[in-house]
Every structure is written in C-alpha cells, then in structure tokens.
C-alpha cells in the first residue's frame, strides 16, 4: 500500500491547502490557498523544507492514522490533540507511528488548525496546486474514509516545538487605504480606526464579517461602483453596513465599495479570530505597511531558527491540564510568548 494518511473521522470543513493558484485573476479565479499562511510557514519550519501543502481544519479536526511511520507537525489554531490517548503539544512536530490513532478535537482558541506531514501531501494538483477552492468548484472537502497520499520524506527531526505569538483571539489589524476609501465620509473613516468590532458568526474561506459597536458603514448614493479587482484583505461594505474582510477564496472582482485593506502580515490574525473575538483597525501609511511587510517576511525567514527541542517539561503538556483539570481555561494561552 502506498504511503498515506488515513482519515477515519473528519470535521465538517477539512481541506488540503497550500499557497493557492496565483496568476488566474484575469480568468476570474482567485488565488485561494491557506487561510493562515503563517501556519504553513510554521509547519515547514518544524519539519524542515519548503512551504508545502497542509490539511486545513476549520474548528475541529478528526481521527487520523498513518499507513506507515511518518513525521507530522501541528500549527495554526491550537486544537486538542492526542496520540493513542496521550496529549500532543500543538505548535510542534511529532512522530506518528504506523497504526497509531491521531485524534484532533476542537480548537481551544483560534479558528483554523493545520496538520502537516513529512514529505507533504501528494494528491493530484489542479491548475498547479492541491488547494481546494470550493467556491470555484476546484477540489473537494476531505471526508471520512479518505486516504490522503503522502510524498516521500527525506526525514528529519521530530519532537520539536515552535513558540508562536498569540494570533488566535482577535486584536488590532493594520489597514491601508485602498481604491474606494475616499468614497466613504471622513467621519466613517475616522471612526473605523477608533471603534471596536466583534467577529460575527458569519465567516468562511471567502470572508469574515465584523459587527461594529456603533452605526453601520456605507457610501452616500448607493452601492453601485463599477466592478473592480479584489485583493484578499479588502474590506467590503454591503447593504447591512457591516464590514466584511475578504479572504483567500474571495471573488476576483466586486461592485461593493471597499473601505480599506488589511495588510498581508495581519491576515492570519483575521483568519484565526474566533466568533465573538474583538478586533479593531488601525490606519497606517503605505510606507509603514511596507516596513511591516519586510518585518513579516523576516519573521517567516527566521522561523526555522526558532524551533526548539521538545523536552518532557510540564510546561509542554498543557493539554493534559486543560483536558482533565481546568475548565474555561484555554490551553492556547500556553503558547503566548
């Protein structure tokens, strides 16, 4: 039998995700790819090698088994994970023996967890990528009974962890002005950078809706601007006045006015904000956004150097505590550094 990860049980929204399909905007296909790109980079740092394709798990994971021994890494939103019943640390790489049961439960904070395998998933590519882009009709969700092909692994370390900063509970999002910012009244632009928002229940791979504390947002004279290109991070305002941050699987063009654009470095924070999380926006200049972009790329480039050996330290088994002893206490807090 070929090398595979067997999916015995699957949460409702499991898909393979990579860096998506750049280059097809002219044909109406948005790039797509992982909601939390930083989590992809963290998986690559933990396993060594290039950023590849991971299993993206929205909200909850599933029950998995390896057809033969393989290395795995767990990144993104911390989820309750066990290996044959023993708690597994998140933001870490582990060895998954053949036949062992890897159970990944609900996220304890954040929204999207990622399961990486040494050698990477090796399912057929569509237009050059394994990413499912469901709104575009490309690929399909990963469901129970699936055997996901896994590529050959050159091998490497396991029992490694990667301390990450908390991006799983909302926070401040830096935004720049975009195409249609000037259409919005000055009062709204100012208020947008000052008030707090709550992440609505409505969120998926296309976008994340935010409910303002105060009055809704909108453009005088209706909503008919000529359809224009959309970039992930664009904040669209539809008829109900609530800002909607457009994400990986957004459409390529849209006719609703857009108030601002979240910078790429802060998109993982948007993706990972769970329902009910508080978010706010801070206007920054384009120059400041470019500095932030440079810092973000540097942070990604330095990830491999931040990987540490995993020792049997009590601090490394927080899930044991949260499982058995403490309720209302997020094991994700242990990953704040």
């Amino acid at each position: 039998m070929s090398r595979a990860l067997i999916v015995h049980r699957a949460g409702p929204a499991l898909t393979l995700q990579d860096e998506g399909r750049p280059g097809w905007i002219a044909y109406g296909l948005s790039r797509g790819g992982a909601m939390d790109r930083l989590a992809l980079a963290e998986g690559a740092a933990l396993l060594g090698g290039k950023r590849g394709v991971a299993l993206e798990m929205a909200g909850v994971g599933g029950l998995f088994e390896a057809s033969e021994e393989m290395r795995i890494a767990l990144t993104g939103a911390p989820m309750r994970a066990t290996l044959d019943g023993q708690p597994l640390l998140w933001q870490a790489a582990h060895l998954l023996p053949a036949g062992a049961q890897l159970e990944i439960g609900p996220a304890t904070s954040g929204a999207y967890g990622y399961l990486h395998v040494g050698g990477g998933f090796a399912e057929p590519a569509i237009l050059g990528a394994q990413s499912a882009h469901l709104t575009a009709g490309l690929g399909a969700p990963v469901t129970a009974g699936t055997r996901l092909a896994v590529g050959p692994d050159k091998g490497g370390e396991t029992a490694r962890k990667l301390p990450v900063a908390d991006r799983f509970s909302g926070g401040v999002l830096r935004v720049v002005e975009s195409l249609q910012t000037g259409l919005f009244p000055e009062e709204q632009r100012r208020r947008f950078g000052e008030e707090a928002f709550v992440r609505d229940m409505r969120a998926n791979r296309m976008g994340v809706k935010l409910t303002p504390e105060g009055a809704g947002y909108g453009v005088e004279g209706g909503l008919s601007v000529v359809s224009e290109v959309i970039a992930p991070g664009d904040i669209q305002v539809t008829g109900d006045g609530a800002p909607f941050v457009l994400m990986a699987d957004c459409q390529t063009t849209g006719g609703y006015p857009r108030l601002a654009t979240v910078i790429p470095a802060d998109l993982p924070r948007v993706a990972q904000a769970p329902a009910g999380a508080r978010l706010s926006f801070r206007w920054i200049s384009l120059d400041a956004a470019l500095e932030a972009e440079a810092a973000y790329r540097k942070e990604i480039a330095e990830l491999p150097r931040r990987v540490e050996p995993l020792i049997r330290d009590p601090a490394d088994v927080p899930d044991l505590l949260s499982h058995k002893l403490v309720s209302g206490f997020s094991s994700g807090d242990h990953h704040d550094h």
Binding site: A26, L29, Q251, T252, E293
Partner: protein
C-alpha cells in the same frame, strides 16, 4: 496623453502589493478596449517584479512585489506607458479569438426570452435575429472562474435587471441585462433574464487552455433549434467553434 475631464486614466494602489490603472468610472466600449490594450502592453513589457496582471471592465491591475519593485518606480513606469499613446483610441490586442456558440433562444430551455424581447420592444423573431447576429466582446471574466461578461448589445437591450431573482439558472445559461450578457459556468441565482441556453464547456480543467474564453475575445451566439441543441449536448465542444482574429 491629454486627460479627460474626469481625470482618467488614474493610477491607484490596491492594498499593499497592487496597482490599478483605470480608464473610466463606468463601463464603456472605449474604456474596456483601453484596459485590454494596456494590459497586453504591460504583459509584453514583462517588468521585473510584476507578478501578475489582469484586465477588469475598465482597468488594468498589476500585482507586484513591493519590496523588490518600489511603488514609486512602478508608478513611473506606468505613467510613461500611459503617456506613450492615446489609450482610448488604442486597437485591441493581437492573439484574440472569435467564438461561435450555438444557442437556443426561448422555449422551455430559455423561459425569459419572450419577456426580454418585449422589454426591448421587439417581436420574438426580431429579438432572436438581433441577438444571433450581434458580435459581443468578453469585457471581463468573474463571479465564477471562466465566466464571461459580454458586451455591448444594441441600445434596445438596455433593459433593467429583474426585481425578483430567478432562483436557479443552469450551467450554459445565457442571461441578459443592461446591454450585456453573462454566460453561466455554474448553476446560479440571478437577477438577469435567462434568454438563451448553450451547451458549451467554458471550463476545461486539465487542458492546456483551462478557460475557453479570454478577456478581449469576441463571441457570436447564433440561434439553433432545440433538435440541433439536443445533438450538440453529446459533442465535447457543445457545438462551439472558434477561429483566430486577425
């Protein structure tokens, strides 16, 4: 070139890594032609640091690496290209195709044809003749991958969208409003009127050209009978054919 009263073309940023050159603030034949011609020239230039370009209804979009190619440097290149000619008079780019996509107008396959003809003030025969003979341009693709907006139809077809939405039109549905067609690649809800039905496959994943239509291509929708349509459904091309435009 002399900028018109509204100040077009304008250059604006899109997020942190995009720039947009717009030739108008509403759809027109000239603005769309300018956008197509300008984008073809951007592709031909192949500037280092530009990662992708696309044309939309009235604009050319560039995605670039802003740490490699600074905004000011790209803007200067774009200004120079803008100033090099009158884009509103530019010819359409080379390498485009003319597609012929046989279409059934009216009947049970396209139930809103009669209503649309009445809204245009035409008899059904005259409406079928008008839509069959008009050659339209792919002004943009969007909403779903490979799905074209096509225009511009004769003035009589400046009919509004419906008040109520049609809950579902099938793949291959040709719908019409405000002097434009959309040819659906997915089943969808729409406020546009379902005037024709085609059997064409616009999305061909795995083939060298995965999307049949490209921005700037031209399309004719000649009328065929339901009998001919039934036979075309077994054809891999759905009866459609194309030739290179000179």
């Amino acid at each position: 070139m002399a900028l018109d009263a509204a100040g077009f073309p304008v250059i604006r940023t899109v997020g942190v890594d995009g720039m947009l050159v717009s030739f108008g603030d509403r759809l027109s034949e000239t603005a769309n032609r300018a956008a197509l011609a300008f984008r073809a020239e951007v592709e031909r230039e192949g500037w280092d640091g530009v990662e992708e370009s696309a044309s939309s209804l009235v604009s050319c979009y560039l995605r670039f690496d802003p740490l490699y190619l600074r905004h000011a440097a790209l803007e200067a290149k774009l200004r120079e290209l803008i100033d090099s000619r009158d884009w509103m008079q530019a010819a359409l780019p080379q390498g485009r195709r003319l597609h012929r996509i046989p279409t059934v107008y009216g009947g049970t396959l396209a139930p809103q044809f009669g209503e649309a003809a009445a809204a245009a003030g035409l008899s059904e025969a005259a409406a079928r003749d008008s839509l069959s003979r008009t050659r339209v341009r792919v002004t943009a693709l969007g909403f779903a991958p490979g799905q074209p907006y096509l225009g511009e139809l004769p003035e009589c077809w400046d009919i509004p969208r419906q008040q109520a939405l049609t809950p579902r039109v099938p793949i291959g549905a040709l719908v019409l409003a405000i002097r434009q067609f959309v040819l659906f690649t997915v089943q969808a809800q729409t406020g546009w009127r379902h005037v024709g039905q085609t059997a064409v496959r616009l999305v061909r994943l795995g083939e060298e050209r995965p999307f049949l239509l490209a921005p700037g291509d031209e399309v004719e929708f000649p009328a065929v009978s339901e009998e001919v349509f039934a036979r075309m459904q077994d054809d891999a091309e759905g009866g459609a054919s194309w030739e290179a435009l000179a």
